[in-house]
């Protein structure tokens, strides 16, 4: 077999994996990096608004007004409501991702006859993550929950371990790193969905934990922008995965192009918003993310139609659910898009806050 040019899929996933693995395995290390004056200065330089004009009586007045507003009880309450609601939204998108992982890995690992005991792990991890996320979704209290936090951490760890397993599964087959094995061996991207659920969940807990007077942060960075960056990367990886598998299906139906057109734009807009937020780009990102969220649900419908196009259609479900397009896969787009929307809310809040 000839080796393919490293797919976009891999690049995106590996980059994400590296960052995320670091976050999970060496959080302190990452905090140090994040807290390092060098980085702070670099970011500050990038993010710094134009040099402040010399203080004038007017600016002083404005500053006073800002402080007054910030410490006004109604504004504080609103702020608390917002972080809480956003945290719950993030729990919700983690739930959706975990659900997608749970059902997808159940189907795919059943197809793989659970040949290896480790193949039960993502089912358990995803089920627990789903439970924790649903709990978070219903939990109206304003702070993080240690159990959830630990569950999310281990989900992320499981995701990265799964990636290792899947890479090993690809490489040990004849042909090694080849198109054929990327198509039919264990999919590279699938475990990353679990890792993303974990990361977004951790983010959710951080956001919920925000003190009323602070802006939400994750690892010392603005939470909204951090989560937006992770989500954008996750979307890019998921696009890579869908692109690869739809390429395997030879894009035989034009609808198969949708997940490689809409979500990449959403991902790009979100990444831009993370890097340099602004009214226009935030709005743009919001719209593309909404479309991605809808696409994720519509994708289930498309895939259901795909199953019906296999021999015997739905009557032959015992074969076609396994060999046809995977029903549980597309909702991960929705999960990520919702996380992206929540991140945008945080970004906008931080912006208006200043």
């Amino acid at each position: 077999m000839t080796r393919p040019i490293p797919a976009l899929d891999l690049a995106a996933n590996l980059a994400l994996a590296g960052v995320a693995a670091l976050i999970v395995v060496r959080p302190r290390h990452v905090t140090q990096i994040a807290a390092s004056p060098l980085l702070k200065r670099a970011i500050a330089n990038r993010l710094a608004p134009a040099p402040a004009p010399p203080p004038s009586p007017l600016t002083k007045l404005r500053e006073l007004r800002r402080l007054a507003r910030r410490y006004a009880p109604t504004v504080q309450a609103k702020h608390r409501r917002l972080t809480r609601a956003t945290g719950r939204k993030l729990n919700g998108s983690a739930a959706l991702l975990a659900f997608s992982v749970l059902t997808d890995s159940a189907v795919e690992h059943y197809r793989g006859s659970f040949q290896n005991r480790a193949m039960y792990t993502p089912l358990i991890a995803a089920a627990v993550t789903l439970g924790a996320s649903l709990f978070g979704l219903g939990d109206t209290r304003g702070q993080k929950h240690t159990v959830r936090d630990v569950v999310y951490g281990s989900a992320a760890a499981t995701g990265f371990t799964g990636l290792g397993f899947h890479l090993y599964n690809i490489l040990k087959r004849p042909g090694g790193w080849s198109w054929l094995n990327l198509f039919y061996a264990a999919p590279v991207g699938a475990p990353m969905a679990l890792a993303l659920a974990g990361l977004i969940g951790r983010g959710a807990e951080r956001v919920r934990d925000t003190a009323p007077l602070d802006d939400a942060t994750v690892l010392g960075m603005p939470a909204g922008r951090m989560l937006a960056a992770v989500t954008a990367a996750g979307l890019a990886g998921t696009v890579g995965e869908a692109g690869l598998l739809h390429f395997r299906g030879a894009y035989h139906d034009p609808a198969m192009l949708l997940p490689v057109t809409i979500p990449p734009l959403a991902s790009a807009a979100l990444a831009a918003a993370a890097l340099r937020p602004g009214r226009t780009i935030n709005r743009l990102a919001r719209w593309w993310l909404r479309m991605t969220a809808v696409l994720g649900f519509a994708g289930v419908g498309f895939h259901a139609y795909g199953v019906s196009r296999n021999m015997g259609g739905w009557r032959n479900w015992s074969q076609n659910l396994l060999n046809g397009p995977p029903l549980p896969a597309p909702p991960s787009f929705t999960g990520l898009a919702l996380a992206g929307l929540a991140a945008l809310t945080l970004i906008e809040e931080a912006e208006t806050d200043v």
Binding site: G249, H252, N310, N323
Partner: protein
């Protein structure tokens, strides 16, 4: 009316079977026998079916006749090896020579769509040098075709059949990406891959004419593994479900259960039409041009049987080569037993291939080349190998057969040399139509034997490297039939020219595997279809110039 496709013609009364819907019909333009159609085509397989489609699409009036029934695979094909023998050409033929060949099941089809209805779907291009193997490689005969031109026609056929193949093919010059992606490998194919990697040679998923994703009314392949007994899902892109529906839509008429017995000609030596039997009556279809596309036995049989006072040795036979140079492809195998379960009955039989020995010229003590592929024999075929080839019977046979799910094999498609002694002749015996039964004589030459020995030795090493045990050689099997009406540049040493046009009878064409001067080490169907596409283009331009 009986709806038994083998007893009563289906393509009558202005309609033909809709192959995609049980009990369905599509409209069909019809011609009367007395109407002089542009082309009467004998046979609707890889050559005739493809040509019928292309010519009809170019606006010619076409009647294509086939001796076989017009199946609707979804309703007519059972999942049963025994029953599906109905797809094979099982009329009596006599086989002799030093190495008589088995006919019927794996090399002859009697269906509308020809043997593509039960072919193994392996769709390979020739190695470019093979088109000039006499000049470039020192054996066989040069083709009057240029590989670069063929490359464009291969691409046309691959697109028409939506071949599912590897993203990058490891051998030969650049080719466009296959329209569909490769299929997942089964364990039998993985064994081939393991063996190839152990010996350090290349391997690839096989380019196959069965879709790996939905296409129109074709669902993706469900890996039921019964490809060579007829695909009951229409995943297989046979002539029956690809070129022929197009041909009908373009206005071609297809006549099933119509056995052509003789080609008629006028005093000027031009063909005037064909005599054919349908529903128990001999009829005569008039035509401006006659195309013979009956494959390497029926084509020379028909030409020889059309002998007249003007052409006493048979039609198109001034060279004396009609029926000669019959070429099979060597189909020897090495089999073994794996500790792991293989269950090779799942998936298309030949999912992995190596063309290493087609593209490597060193380390050989023979001319020509061979590919070898993974295998997935069904029980009757496998028992035939164990009993017929290995001579097992009694409890030993049953014990050996019990290892069915652990058996694994590698089998070649090997290039045999053209020899004039390998030929098709007519006997005095008559068949059910009253036509003379053909005699097929076949013997390997020394070069063939050296090729076979080389392949068996190499495959044994490959299988051994995968940990297979109880390895044994199956030393006599053949596949595919070609030659018997070769194309060339010289009327003295060929039957037709590069355009598949007879040198002797200007409105007689031959368009099937018979025209191959050599066979190469790959399955011929893709090349036959590519030649048919080229012939159609040539006919169109000649017609435009008034040269028909």
């Amino acid at each position: 009316m009986s709806d038994n496709a083998q007893e009563t013609p289906r393509a009558i009364r202005g309609r033909a079977p809709d192959v995609f819907h049980p009990g369905g019909w599509v409209p069909m333009r019809q011609h009367s026998d007395d109407e002089v159609v542009d082309f009467a085509i004998v046979g609707t397989g890889a050559g005739g079916g493809t040509l019928a489609c292309k010519l009809a699409e170019y606006g010619f009036s076409v009647v294509a006749l086939d001796a076989g029934p017009y199946w609707r695979p979804l309703e007519d094909f059972a999942s049963d090896e025994h029953h599906q023998a109905k797809l094979y050409w099982t009329d009596e033929r006599i086989t002799d020579g030093d190495d008589p060949i088995q006919l019927g099941s794996n090399n002859c089809g009697k269906s509308v769509g020809g043997s593509t209805v039960h072919f193994a779907m392996v769709s390979l291009r020739f190695r470019p040098e093979w088109f000039k193997c006499r000049s470039k490689l020192g054996y066989g005969a040069d083709w009057p075709l240029d590989w670069r031109e063929m490359w464009t026609y291969y691409a046309e056929v691959e697109a028409a059949l939506k071949i599912s193949g590897p993203v990058n093919y490891p051998w030969g010059p650049q080719r466009p990406r296959y329209p569909y992606r490769p299929h997942e490998l089964n364990a039998a194919a993985l064994v081939l891959a393991e063996g190839a990697e152990a010996l350090g040679i290349g391997w690839s998923p096989t380019p196959l004419a069965t879709v790996s994703a939905p296409r129109g009314h074709s669902p993706p392949c469900i890996y039921r593994g019964m490809c060579v007994i007829g695909c009951s899902t229409n995943a297989k892109q046979s002539v029956l479900i690809t070129w022929l529906p197009r041909a009908l839509a373009a206005g071609a008429e297809i006549r099933d259960l119509a056995m052509v017995g003789r080609i008629e000609h006028d005093d000027n030596g031009r063909a005037t039409g064909v005599h054919y039997m349908r529903e128990g009556v001999w009829r005569f279809q008039r035509a401006r041009n006659v195309v013979v596309a009956g494959y390497a036995i029926e084509t020379p049989r028909l030409l020889l049987h059309s002998a007249s006072s003007r052409f006493p040795d048979g039609l198109a036979n001034s060279s004396g080569l009609v029926g000669k140079n019959l070429m099979v492809q060597a189909n020897q195998a090495v089999w073994g037993i794996m500790e792991r379960e293989i269950r090779s009955y799942k998936g298309p039989p030949s999912l992995a291939i190596t063309e290493h020995w087609n593209y490597t010229d060193t380390g050989k003590d023979f001319f020509g080349g061979y590919a070898y592929m993974s295998q997935g024999p069904l029980p009757i075929t496998w028992s035939g190998t164990q009993a017929g080839k290995r001579g097992l019977w009694g409890q030993r046979l049953l014990d050996e057969m019990e290892k069915y799910n652990h058996q694994v094999g590698l089998k070649i498609v090997g290039e045999c040399q053209p020899q004039e002694r390998n030929r098709v002749t007519l006997t005095d015996q008559k068949d059910q139509y009253g036509l003379p039964v053909p005699r097929i004589s076949h013997s390997y030459c020394d070069n063939d034997k050296r090729l076979i020995a080389h392949s068996l030795g190499f495959m044994r090493r490959a299988l051994d490297a995968t940990g297979a045990t109880e390895i044994w050689d199956e030393t006599d099997d053949t596949c595919h039939l070609n030659g018997t009406a070769r194309m060339g540049d010289d009327p003295d040493s060929s039957v037709v020219n590069a355009d598949c046009r007879s040198w002797d009878v200007p409105n007689l064409w031959i368009c099937d595997g018979s025209v191959f001067p050599t066979v190469g080490g790959v399955n011929p169907s893709l090349t036959i279809q590519a030649i048919a596409c080229r012939t159609a283009d040539r006919i169109r331009s000649m017609a435009a110039r008034g040269e028909l």
